[in-house]
Symmetry: C2
Subunit: 239 residues, 2 copies
């Protein structure tokens, strides 16, 4: 049984490597989200273009994680618990890849919006929302690294605040569109941007739930607090 | 080596079982999409409610697939090729779960839209789009079962047609909103519905790409034909 510790530490080393790739991916996604929101606010097309181009590196990291994770499973035949960790890393990487796409889409729409009349106050509100979501995403990854179910539960609760920010923006955009039809196209883009940032928040929550599952072996029992009510929204003023 | 065939067939049997669950999931998602589109067109709130409730069964199947797949990997220690198949089933199940969420969201918005004045022609156009996407989703799953890279490549190409249907609807909704601000809220919901159906099409494409990767060992080289140009859309009439 003298090889046992060697096999275990080889597994740990490989796991460390894919975790490090995942964290690098998380850092790139967080930066892309903040940069895209800044490009929107400052109407900086060059920065938007850099965010768009940068998505390739995020996609490449996900592919590399998938390859390394499959190799690790095949070579090391991990135990049930270790296997669950590896599969969780793959799931988190898939979430981050989607978040990167949302940031890229935000950057695309930012380049279009810089050609239109600005909608007063919207870019600042979107930047604040992007910042709040970036913090959630970062803390969801921290909770994974530290196997901290309490931090994960906290992320999960705070996503409702992001949903409220989105709801407020949704009503505001509707009002702008009704006031002046010339605002409609810009507001449609801004609305999609807000929705996509809200979706990044949902992914942060999803990552936090994976961490809770990994640490406790069970998904949180109560339904996730979900405060996006816009899918049932009636026109402003309707009862 | 007399146990070899036994081990192999136990793996095959387990794999068959999770594939069957995945196909059942696919059938539920296809039905949910078509039912939700029909509920929208016929303003059938009961049908919409059934779609919303039905999403739980789809989520439960994904969880079961994840558990069974992890168990299969841990118990059978599959070879690299077999492992890739199991991981692909997990990825496809995650895609189907997202598609189920989109159908549920469509059903939610359908219940809201039934309380508003209809936008002429929109529900029929959305039903046709849902039908086209349902066919793509079904064929992407068929291509997996039959390991048919040619069918998968065909699905991938035809997703551009769905993107074109979405583009046409996007322009139409913009026009309706500009013509009459009272249409704005309904058109926002319809627009989200169209976008979510288009995203189901993207998932069908993603599944097809997984199949091509599984069969050929390489992802398709040329970038996926992508024809959603609305993220760079300017107002109708703008140059």
């Amino acid at each position: 049984m003298t090889t046992e510790p060697h096999i275990a530490s080889a597994f740990d080393r490989d796991l460390e490597a894919i975790q490090a790739m995942m964290l690098k991916m998380g850092g790139l996604v967080e930066a892309a989200l903040l940069d895209a929101a800044q490009a929107l606010e400052t109407r900086d097309d060059d920065l938007a273009e850099r965010v768009r181009r940068g998505d390739k590196a995020i996609d490449a990291l996900e592919e590399q994680i998938n390859i390394e994770a499959a190799r690790l499973i095949a070579l090391r035949a991990p135990t049930a618990g270790d296997l669950r960790t590896v599969l969780t890393v793959m799931k988190i990487a898939a979430s981050l890849e989607r978040c990167g796409d949302y940031a890229k889409n935000l950057a695309k729409r930012s380049s279009v919006l810089s050609q239109m009349s600005p909608i007063s106050g919207s870019a600042g509100a979107i930047r604040r929302m992007a910042k709040a979501v970036e913090v959630l995403l970062r803390e969801s990854l921290d909770s994974f690294v530290q196997r901290d179910a309490r931090l994960a539960a906290d992320v999960r609760l705070r996503d409702a605040e992001v949903d409220q920010m989105y709801n407020a923006l949704f009503r505001e955009f509707l009002t702008h569109m009704m006031e002046d039809p010339r605002n409609i196209t810009a507001c449609m883009h801004l609305h999609f941007i807000a929705k996509n940032i809200e979706r990044v928040g949902d992914h942060a929550t999803g990552i936090a739930e994976q961490v809770i599952y990994l640490v406790s072996g069970a998904l949180p029992e109560e339904a996730r607090p979900k405060d996006d009510r816009t899918s049932t929204a009636l026109p402003p003023g309707a009862k």
